[in-house]
Amino acid sequence: MIRKIKIFILISAVAALLGCHSDNTGELPRLGLPQIINGDTIPHSIPDFAFMNQDSQWVSNETFSQAVYVADFFFTSCPTICPKLTRSMLRMHDHFEGREDVLFLSHTIDVRRDSIPRLKMYAENLGVSSDRWHFVTGDRDEIFDIAEDYMSIAIEDEDAPGGFDHSGWLILVDQNRHIRSYGDGTDDEAVDRLIKDMERLLRETSPSG
């Protein structure tokens, strides 16, 4: 029940933020519910995490401290939106080919079935490697919880196809753990826009590149 309420709040927050999005000048906004600490407004940031990737390497915030990254939530046996999400991630991955400061992070939400060898097989069948794209697994609740920090939804639901219900957002995060943009990974136009936002973010963070 608490989770449901949290999710409702998250959805409302996302809906409220949709309004900020059309602004095309200046810096990209820092999205999410800000925190007020000692009277200062601190933008929402991704908390500490540590998950294991397809090559059994630990992946943490440190992995992304020099890079902007796109995060999503998926599972390998997902019969509904995942192939399209993955295709969109792949399109972004290929678009930024050769840029080591653009990384990708896909969290499985089916930690029971998506073992490391299964994630490895998935990545290989996609033709991508952990140089740029991490497929991670870890503690189930930690993954479900961090999904909320990415303004996403990941829950187990017997009635959903494949046993999980999840949102199809692709989330763009900067070097300082702030969410700077997001888009519906099943919508090609939203992904085009996300690529533009990524380019904008890269100009902002490294004006020469």
Binding site: S77, P79, T80, I81, P83, K84, T86, R87, L90, S115, P117, R118, M121, Y122, E124, N125, L126, G127
Partner: protein, 145 residues
């Protein structure tokens, strides 16, 4: 006067070319098949039929969508594709899920759509042959392809 008739004739000609071209585009013989494809298959094989690298096969110029094999592909749609799990051969997985609730007509419409799109030239399914094939599907799709 002659000139006028000539121009009028050109205008009528262009007009009719235009009307026939738009009406030809408009006429879609596979409307239901396309709709069913978008509902049941496109999540994996994608709207453009191109699949996803080595995860999901492309349906373009597919060996399953030829005149010889098109009816058998009905079995794949109805019963899905079942395989031993490559990581644990004692288990079976469905890389492609079964769709037991689709009627023969619906299966046939899907086949006629994909069999004549994406560069395939399978022609049309034969209802009698489709029924025979569907009543005698191997319980597991063959692996040799």
């Amino acid at each position: 006067m002659k000139m006028r008739t000539f121009f009028a004739a050109i205008v009528v000609l262009l007009g009719s070319v235009y009307v026939s071209s738009t009406s030809c585009n408009y006429y879609n013989p596979h409307a239901q098949g396309e709709r069913l494809y978008l509902t049941h298959c496109a999540a994996c094989h994608m709207d453009d039929g191109k699949g996803l690298r080595d995860l999901i096969p492309s349906l373009h110029e597919s060996a399953f969508l030829t005149r010889e094999n098109i009816h058998f592909t009905g079995c794949l749609i109805r019963y899905g594709i079942k395989r031993p799990d490559p990581l644990d051969p004692s288990q079976e997985i469905f890389p492609m899920p079964p769709l037991p609730d689709l009627s023969e007509t619906e299966i046939s419409n899907i086949l006629n759509y994909i069999g004549n799109h994406f560069g395939n030239e399978a022609g049309y399914t034969n209802p009698v042959k489709l029924r025979e094939t569907l009543s005698d599907c191997p319980n597991r799709a063959p692996r040799q392809y």
